[in-house]
Symmetry: C2
Subunit: 151 residues, 2 copies
Amino acid sequence: MDNLQLSNQVCFPIYSASRLITKAYKPFLDEMGITYPQYLVLMVLWENDQLTVNQITEKLLLNTNTISPLLKRMEKFELIKRTRSAEDERSVIVQLTSKGKRLKDKAKPIPEQLLKILLNDNIELSEVLQLKEMLNHWIEILTENNKNKTA
Amino acid sequence: MDNLQLSNQVCFPIYSASRLITKAYKPFLDEMGITYPQYLVLMVLWENDQLTVNQITEKLLLNTNTISPLLKRMEKFELIKRTRSAEDERSVIVQLTSKGKRLKDKAKPIPEQLLKILLNDNIELSEVLQLKEMLNHWIEILTENNKNKTA
DNA sequence: AGCGATTATATCGTACGCGATACAAATGTA
DNA sequence: TACATTTGTATCGCGTACGATATAATCGCT
């Protein structure tokens, strides 16, 4: 078997699926005026009243050089506000504005609608959950692999 | 269950895994002086002597507005050459240069090394293959879903 | 043959991702 | 208490992604 044949790659399907999923989200997120990465930030803030920039990067597995400008855009759209922490002047605390909080209601039906796209076409819910478990295992390994490199 | 909790999302693991995999490739691709998307283009050209821009977009599920500038960069690095088709002046034929062809040898060990990162940490090969099948199914559905939107 | 519709590619603008770097605040240590 | 080190964010530069738009070549139909 030719390892360098595209059809034999596992990574390419992940790469493609990721882009296609973001695209599937788009019509829903467009209505809210946000992008997929911004949606992720909102999700972690709907779960947590306030987070530092660092805490957000840890939850989303992104770096500050991605998150910082992203948060600035979100602040401009008045979805969040950023404040320097009083205890540690280095930290920036991120909180939702009322506009950001209100978006949660609008976002509620999204996960179900995305699932419907997949489930309607004979994909079993169990399969979806299995996929999630497998990928989470991969992420763990790849995150570890990444740490080893920088250490 | 709260559908808007990050941990309950399936799409987030795909998004994260995709980025982490690209990062895992980086040290290998850096040695060749290319990026992951450029590596994908090389792969389809190692399989096919010549392809039009359109044929590449179909194989990689990317649009011309991504591929066009990408190919231009690859041409500047002398990995490929682009020629207008004689039969159809609209089409651009993409072919590997000798430098592009030579890179195939250097790339040969990459898939195995990537797999090793995953398999070393008690992921079964069967699991990898299963994941691939599942994602290909998803990609089919999501591609279809996308077509319906533009139609 | 003439001409509107389609097709193949390219360009523009915006938003990520990320390696490298910068910088101020906090921490550790002699 | 000085001062090197670490930590938390931000900035820069480059390379994707992608919606919208542009343009030339070809096709289809009369």
